[in-house]
């Protein structure tokens, strides 16, 4: 029973995440932007963060860097993004993401990856 934070502005994706993750027994909180994401992260209660890169109020990479460097959190971060270029993936991983799942995604695969990171 883990607690997952998803920073995702597309509400269909959010609903899918809720369904998939909640059915598997995890608690999911969805926030829709960088500002809300920062707010939610002010309390360190999450076991995993799902992060979209294309957010309406800012740059997802910036938030990623900020979580790792400014907030110093070690929470596993899985990037969930429609951007699939090699450079983008590498940049995300270098900035501190633990995994990178491209959109559109396969829910069983996402679940498997999420649970793997949460288990650690």
């Amino acid at each position: 029973m883990s607690s997952i934070l998803a920073i995702e502005d597309d509400w269909t994706v959010g609903l899918v995440l809720e369904h998939v993750l909640q059915t598997a027994g995890h608690e999911v909180t969805i926030v829709r932007g960088i500002a809300d994401g920062k707010g939610a992260l002010s309390e360190d209660g999450y076991d995993l963060i799902l992060l979209d890169l294309n957010l309406p109020d800012g740059n997802g990479f910036e938030l990623l860097r900020s979580i790792r460097e400014d907030l110093g959190r070690r929470t596993p971060i899985v990037v969930l993004s429609g951007m699939r270029q090699e450079e983008t993936v590498v940049r995300g991983l270098k900035l501190g993401a633990d995994d990178y799942v491209a959109k559109p995604f396969s829910p069983p695969e996402l679940l498997a990856r999420v649970e793997r990171w949460v288990r650690r």
């Binding site: 294309n54 309406p56 699939r84």
Partner: protein, 467 residues
């Protein structure tokens, strides 16, 4: 019927004729503009927009910000530009010999250091003192140069711009987060596009959070409310209509996107006018037509730029005076295009339209009114008829403004509150009960000043011209 009456009827006919043709043109533009808006709303769906961003299909853009004595707001403005939702862009700020703390504020806020960079100079400008770059934001460049006016500042910025697309803006423009993407994709989709203009909307009254308007509210002052309607008419009906015919003559200085090479080839902005935005577009048309190069200047209603409009009468009048003088300067400079078949639709339709129905309109309206009053006093006209003529003119204007308000209502980001909607419609009514007439008078005065050679610069503010 005596000859005086005959003369008067002839004059009435001329005015009505002018009015009818103007009416017809506006109506056609309105209708065509509406269709443009309808098609555009389906052309670029959210999914396509997302695709463009995610697949990184875009052309990098250099945003050019000319600034003169903007110490109060420049830092916030530049921050707002740096936060735009676009994969690759730079911001080039030019302090045009500012005498206040503009540069100091910038240096402080963005950790600027001097860059002894060598770059290629293609446009002549006033001397550049130094070029500064930000340690924190690698895509921010600030230029300190000697005063030369807005055109000169923009030309300096163009020289330093490194990307193929340039976006001259006003220092106080607030760009919608997606504005640049929505505008630049037009360059990707069509090689012949050399310039794209978007919609300018007044920011006054809106609730602004994080530098962007989150909720639109009608401002308190009626002057501002009236301008909201005016801008809606100019952009959604006017320019949206012109773009369908391929004859866009103005791209607002508050926000436009140009191919850098095309602008450099044409020689950059001209210093001899206060309406440098329109003059550049006219010159681009001219040069490209002369060279036989295919080119398109496009207006797209989607990219939106917000700006504060004057809230007091004095500033507003000075602004409109400047715009009208700029209009005359530009039309005069390119008078060889007037009714010149060599310039196709631009020369045969758009330029004459601007001469007759934009530049000369205040003259015709004011003299028309005076003649009517004279006729009234001379007994050649019954008072009832005068009122009816006036009513006709006023109603026609109101109608167009209502249509514009209607188009605004179709935006997702519109004035949501019912009370504001009523105010907007009321403003559409009131615009022609004094506001329009006042501005017409100001433009009439400006015409005479232009004719007698007034070349006042005023402060460096946007000099776009609502059509």
């Amino acid at each position: 019927m005596n000859s005086l009456e005959r003369l008067f009827v002839a004059y009435q006919l001329a005015v009505i004729g002018y009015f009818a043709i103007l009416n017809l043109i506006y109506s056609v533009l309105a209708f065509v503009g509406l269709r443009t808006v309808i098609v555009y709303s389906r052309e670029l769906s959210d999914v396509s927009l997302k695709d463009l961003l995610e697949r990184e299909v875009f052309k990098p853009v250099s945003i050019l910000v000319p600034a003169y004595n903007e110490e109060k707001s420049i830092v916030a403005s530049v921050r707002s530009f740096l936060k735009l939702h676009y994969p690759r862009f730079e911001v080039v700020v030019v302090s045009d010999g500012s005498t206040d703390a503009t540069l100091e504020r910038l240096i402080d806020a963005f950790a600027l250091v001097e860059d002894p960079r060598v770059w290629s100079r293609r446009l002549p400008t006033e001397p550049i003192r130094r070029v500064l770059r930000s340690l924190r934001h690698p895509n921010l460049v600030v230029v300190d140069k000697e005063n030369g006016g807005k055109s000169d500042a923009l030309n300096a910025a163009i020289d330093l711009a490194r990307y193929p697309l340039i976006a001259p803006v006003d220092a106080d423009s607030v760009l919608d987060a997606q504005a640049i993407l929505r505008a630049s994709r037009l360059f990707v989709e069509d090689d012949s596009v050399i310039a794209v203009g978007g919609t300018i909307r007044p920011l006054n009254g809106a609730v602004v959070e994080g530098g962007r308007p989150t909720e639109l509210r009608m401002p308190r002052g009626w002057l501002e409310r009236l301008q909201i309607v005016e801008y809606a008419r100019a952009f959604f009906l006017g320019r949206a209509g012109w773009t369908r015919f391929g004859t866009v003559l103005i791209i607002s200085g508050a926000f436009g996107l140009f191919r850098r090479d095309a602008v450099v080839r044409a020689g950059g902005f001209w210093r001899g006018t206060v309406g440098e935005d329109m003059e550049l577009v006219m010159r681009l048309h001219r040069e490209h037509i002369r060279a036989g190069l295919p080119h398109r200047v496009v207006f797209s209603p989607d990219p939106i730029c917000w700006t504060e409009v004057p809230s007091d009468l004095g500033t507003l009048r000075r602004q409109r005076n400047r715009w009208h003088r700029g209009l005359w300067t530009n039309l005069w400079r390119h008078r060889s295009m007037l009714l010149n078949p060599r310039y196709g639709r631009v020369g045969m339709v758009a330029v004459p339209y601007f001469w007759l129905f934009e530049a000369l309109a205040p003259v015709i309206e004011v003299t028309g009114f005076l003649v009517f009053v004279a006729a009234l006093l001379l007994g050649a006209l019954e008072p009832g008829l005068l009122w009816l003529f006036l009513a006709l003119a006023v109603l026609h204007g109101m109608l167009l403004s209502q249509v514009a308000a209607g188009v605004e209502a179709m935006l997702l980001q519109r004035y949501p509150r019912p009370s504001d909607r009523v105010r907007l419609l009321a403003a559409a009514f009131l615009e022609f009960l004094g506001f329009h007439q006042l501005l017409t008078l100001e433009r009439f005065v400006a015409t005479f000043q232009a004719a007698t050679g007034r070349r006042g610069w005023g402060t460096m503010r946007r000099v776009g011209i609502p059509g």
